[in-house]
Symmetry: C2
Subunit: 224 residues, 2 copies
């Protein structure tokens, strides 16, 4: 009966289907407006608004007002991590709806996780960067090697290791059971993958689909 942190409060926020759908949508990393989230969750605008204010109260979301638009996003990578953990259990526990459809398969290969790349490709990339000693992996933390800054600069990715946000972070993958690269660097790499049009984001999904040529380029640059 003694209780530490109010875990039920947090979990029940995620426990409503409408809110869960919203959070799931926000796992894509881009902040969304109330109307978009209402559509995503399949509820009316007033209902969505009520849910959003609850999620705000609970500290799970951040809000950025821009004119008459209000963009909601996940409050922190930690929240994203929690949701991934819940997804992991739901996957493991409810293989009832086992339709490993094309979208599901695509998700395993590559998907967006908050603001960086996840999935088999992302796991392989981190492994390779560590092998090549561009990044140094120690326990669950990842650090830049001395050569990292010039290495990424050559790819057109500027690393600002003075920024408040950690440059590298390990993020556990739920499909593969290993880490991929999160943090500012992970985000920058995802940006590059999209900007170079190596891959495009699947509409209404976290899946990231590489074009044949894009895949080859990505592998040449990050997996060679």
């Amino acid at each position: 009966m003694r209780e530490g942190p109010d875990i039920a409060r947090i979990a029940s926020l995620v426990g409503d289907p409408a809110r869960a759908n919203m959070l799931n949508a926000l796992m894509g990393g881009t902040a969304l407006t109330a109307s978009e989230l209402a559509l995503e969750a399949g509820v009316s605008l007033p209902t969505a608004s009520s849910h959003l204010s609850k999620l705000m109260d609970g500290g799970l979301l951040t809000l950025a007002s821009q004119g008459r638009h209000r963009y909601y996003g996940l409050a922190s990578p930690q929240v994203a991590g929690m949701i991934e953990a819940i997804i992991g259990v739901a996957e493991a526990v409810g293989p009832k709806r086992v339709r490993p459809g094309p979208r599901d398969a695509a998700m395993r290969v590559a998907r967006v996780c908050y603001d960086h790349l996840a999935g088999e490709q992302a796991v392989a990339m981190l492994d390779r960067l560590v092998d090549r000693k561009v990044l140094l992996r120690e326990e669950n933390e990842i650090r830049l090697s001395p050569s990292a800054i010039s290495h990424f600069a050559a790819l057109g990715i500027a690393i600002d290791d003075k920024a408040r946000r950690p440059v590298c972070r390990a993020c556990l993958d739920w499909s593969v059971r290993r880490s991929h690269l999160a943090g500012a660097l992970g985000a920058a790499i995802l940006d590059k993958v999209i900007a170079e049009k190596w891959a495009r984001r699947e509409k209404d999904s976290r899946a990231v689909v590489f074009s044949p040529k894009g895949k080859a380029e990505f592998e040449r640059v990050f997996l060679a």
Copy 2:
């Protein structure tokens, strides 16, 4: 509106205060009976029973019947990991009830996590075992070094690397932000700590409190 795994279903199971208390209690690692869990959650027996069957349906618990006793335990380390992740967010988000009381402080130093030791002491122990190359850490996995079996045998811990359960696993700590040792070996070490009376489990809490002498012994053996 498209949905992958049923995340709301899982989260709502954790989202009820009574069930959250039960799960929290089971994070201690020992399986408990329905009556104990009812007491823990502060509800009547029928209510507890109903909650327990829901948690079973949801795949979060396992059940071991022994005569007229029925012992409930967490279904998997993955479930334990999810709960730790939720606790982490609840801690981060709700610093309203900031009473870093003695119990909380003790929890940070050492506590039980499912069936193994967590907290600062546990993190330090894993670091040291890796430094001494008894264990090998690679990404998020931990492996035995060739010398590990004899090393632990000398401490009275037999390692069965043929068993189905992984011997070593990394488990992320929510207080410290790094890994500690889980898996069969982690469990065996916790057993030893308790059996040697180096520490005792705080009543009704996950905290593990070392005696002065026990702490010295533990540090001599694992942190030297």
